[in-house]
Subunit: 237 residues, 2 copies
Amino acid sequence: MTADPDRAAQAALAALSSTRVAQTSSTAERVADALREQVVEGRLLPGVRLGEPAFCEAMRVSRNTLREAFSQLVAERILVREAHRGVFVATPGVTDVHDVYRSRRIVEPAAVRHGERARDEAAIARVRDAVDEGRSAAAAEDWAGVADANQHFHRALVSLAGSTRLDQQMDLLLAEMRLAFHRVGTHRDFHEPYLERNDAVAALVEQGELEKAALEVADYLADAEARIVASLTGAGP
Amino acid sequence: MTADPDRAAQAALAALSSTRVAQTSSTAERVADALREQVVEGRLLPGVRLGEPAFCEAMRVSRNTLREAFSQLVAERILVREAHRGVFVATPGVTDVHDVYRSRRIVEPAAVRHGERARDEAAIARVRDAVDEGRSAAAAEDWAGVADANQHFHRALVSLAGSTRLDQQMDLLLAEMRLAFHRVGTHRDFHEPYLERNDAVAALVEQGELEKAALEVADYLADAEARIVASLTGAGP
DNA sequence: ACGTGTCGGATCGTTGAACGACGTGTGGTG
DNA sequence: CACCACACGTCGTTCAACGATCCGACACGT
């Protein structure tokens, strides 16, 4: 058969249109990404004020675009804006932690138990990958890496549901919890105990024991919440 | 005992600090609310373009504040923005409907089954209220009212989880589905059959039969998705 | 000395205008 | 009929400016 250029071109166009190009334009979005990274990396600690003039000059953007980036991060609950006082890095309290974990205890076990991709090899592989990522980070004593891996693990769990919108919601919740972690202190001995539990959950999912896996996840989350709340109330300034 | 003014004042202060003041300011937010209402009410149909100059003049706000409102609604998936072409009312496709219902099939049954408020009288009362609201709207042949009540019903179901963040996420999903409804046509015979199913779910929840209620909700959602998809693919222009 | 009222500085919220960049449609040409 | 160039409209971004509001400091009266 002849290579039909027309048809080939159409196929290429279709492929491109489906694989949305990064579209990383929109300076406001890039500014938001940069700020979010600064926050989750811990370089901008909870409670600090983000003055508009200072950040405008520091990031070489106009005040309006900075405000647009701020608005996005406020919607993500990473920043909070107080009228006529400025925007601040959010400081999640015990109320917020409770609320987030109530949400996670609903979503994560259900995604494991009833997710449409809960028996999909590729989706399960991502769970296993996150576990491995955590183990190697721990072996290298890279505790920030362990925290990252833990986040990837829970995101992989939710992705078993196969819903983009649920994945995005979980990203927001996880980013918010990173803020709470910064308040409880360094993550050295906090994330370590969960390496084994992650492994156990992954193994159950791989074996198709979804009900047991879901129960383990629920127990896991209840325990994690209790520990965070304890750290938050015990180490209050 | 004497009325201790000091202690009374302290109690009042504590009460005030918990009851956050409304803080309904921010014109951009009001503009976003107005636009969102126009969209979900069906006065702005999916696909129409929202030119900035026209809406600036119509709503008597500056272009920057309008853009801020647009950004918020884009984040809520009610509008979509195409670079250098403008913002449009979102037109959810079958892919979006699938994604939303995958999310709902995870969240809603789990909220009924494992929600912390699933045996809370006040929370259950809100479910029953939504059912009654739908019945009286149907009796008055107010089908838009029936659609509203249906939305309230599912929101009440999710609120059994007791998580503010989950409630907000569900509000976004429900608003997005209203857009899809506008594409399938008038809601007369679409929402009517679900009045009985809503009633059945509410009854099961009231009886504490949470497992049965969750299963019914899951089946309910699968059926609803199938009908929407059928309408969307069958009545394609 | 303590609480109260007033004042000034600083910042935010909002506006209007401006310039460059990009997509779209039109019209001419082979 | 297909293809290319050009002009037009719109968005993305920036800037300067004006009120509105909040915070801190100071002076005053009790």
